[in-house]
Amino acid sequence: MLTIRVYLYNILLMSSALKLDAAFSAIADPTRRAILARLAQGEATVTELAKPFEMTQPAISQHLRILEAAGLIARRVDGSRRPRRLAKEGIEGIDKWLAMLRKALEKNYNRLDLVLTAMEASTKGEKR
């Protein structure tokens, strides 16, 4: 299961690369980072989010508005509930980052296989 840490990392890279000032300033606030960390564990309503932070619902709502405007979270309608979750793009960013890391490592280690083969060949050459 992936983490808020990688998620924030991606937001950080993407927001600076694409100059997304909204995302940039949205995660500069510790409370909003904590909200993202909570949402990484699953969706939650304003009431559920307000509890652990010991904040009023309007205060939490204000933070949620900023996160939503920055495209970091999304909401869905469930009867009278409006649960928030992390935005899909951020999650896809994590997958992209991991896929890229895997690809780079695979290339490295395929090259290392060749280096090791050459090392063994030269060792045998010396013994002969």
Partner: protein, 154 residues
């Protein structure tokens, strides 16, 4: 057999495993001898490593510089925390873009597996606090460049 596995572990670690046909002595050497490192630790196509300094001893420093004809260049620096010949490497490293990123902690183990080696690399991602500090570093360049640079965070 030689296939790489990559999975997340908890909320801060990435675990990578890979088998090699060569014995642990050789795989360890390829990770600590600058002349050998320069031949394989290159990431995506097109990158080369003109500078490779590697003082493979506890407390020793390393510096790897990569360059790409179109994408420019960058480097990482790091220190070895623990080295057990043919068996284990523990180090910290950071990228310079040119401002340094938070440190990554990497533990690499080489275990004998038949006539070959099973490598296990455990990477610890920087925590959210240090990552937030990166906000202030003002990284430049397009997303592709950022991702290319991230390739190096191993």
């Amino acid at each position: 057999m030689n296939k790489l596995t990559l999975k997340t572990e908890g909320d801060t670690h990435i675990l990578v495993t890979r088998n090699f046909a060569a014995p642990p002595e050789a795989v360890y050497r390829a990770h600590t001898d600058p002349k050998l490192i320069q031949q394989w630790l290159l990431g995506p196509e097109g990158w080369s490593m003109p500078v490779c300094i590697c003082e493979a001893r506890p407390g020793g420093k390393f510096r790897y510089e990569w360059t790409h004809p179109k994408k420019g260049s960058f480097y990482i620096t790091g220190e070895f925390l623990e080295l057990v010949p043919s068996s284990k490497i523990v180090h910290v490293e950071r990228m310079h873009l040119p401002d340094p990123t938070p440190e990554n902690h990497v533990e690499t183990r080489f275990d004998r597996d038949g006539s070959g080696t099973r490598m296990t690399m455990r990477m610890t991602l920087p925590d959210s606090k240090t990552r937030a500090a990166m906000l202030a570093t003002g990284m430049e360049g397009g997303m592709e460049d950022s991702y290319a640079r991230l390739d190096r965070m191993i």
